[in-house]
Amino acid sequence: MDQANHSIDFRFEIPATFKYLNVVSNSLTAILEQVDDLPERANLTYNIVLAVHEVCTNIVEHAYAGNDGKIKIDVCLNEQSRSLRVDLYDTGQPFDLIEVTPPDLDEAPIRGYGLFLVQELMDEVTYKSGQENNHWCLTKHLL
């Protein structure tokens, strides 16, 4: 990449429907393709793409619950610190991350994998609901 020591930012906004979540996946994949020397490229890309997809799915299903809405997504790639940060914003119903019970994986539950995957696949996950919007922040170290 030409600007190897700089933070590179991408910003986009999608309708909050399942139909367009592939746009997010494809965009993230394209961004990560530009990172040199990505370890276990296929797995790392899949993990990041899946975690962001799961947050988007959560926003569509729970924050907007079938109503129209938008998801704003900021992606910050920092090749100097070898990290990728993805901020997602919605204006739907707030969500209580602390109330979510982790799935009992020994029981192979039918539901409950989404947020578990987000937390397992990313290095840092935060969520804040404010007056203007709800904000997810996902960070992955590209070591």
């Binding site: 399942f18 979540l21 997809h53 799961e54 799915t57 039918i110 994998y113």
Partner: protein
């Protein structure tokens, strides 16, 4: 997502292609519902051409597997791509499902009684 179904003796084989996610899972769930409406519900899902599986897809597969086992059958998986396989391992679903490297092997594992029925 492309979805093809075939019958190999008494085993229903589903061949999926593309993204298996919240947007595409509904027709797969419908097919599982149809197959598991009668005994024995023996299903093989071939994921060779599936490059993306999300939590909604996992839910559909687990529900199909549990329902088919209630009916004396099973839902088995084959040809998982490495990143998809890793998600099954992370969620420990690699222990819940019988996972095979090839479709023929997955079908044959249902045993001669199903194959010759």
């Amino acid at each position: 997502m492309e979805l093809k179904t075939r019958q190999v003796n008494d085993v229903a084989v589903l061949e999926l292609e593309g993204r298996f996610d919240a947007h595409t899972a509904a027709p797969v769930r419908d097919i599982f519902q149809e197959i598991t409406s009668q005994e024995p519900a023996c299903i093989v899902v071939n994921l060779a051409n599936v490059h993306f599986v999300d939590s909604t897809a996992l839910s559909a597969l687990v529900a199909g597997m549990k329902r088919s086992r209630q009916l004396g059958g099973d839902l088995r998986l084959c040809n998982l791509q490495p990143p998809v396989r890793m998600i099954f391992e992370l969620t420990r679903l690699d222990r819940a499902f019988e996972i095979f490297t090839g479709e023929a092997e997955a079908v044959q594992a249902f045993g001669p009684q199903v194959e010759s029925r």
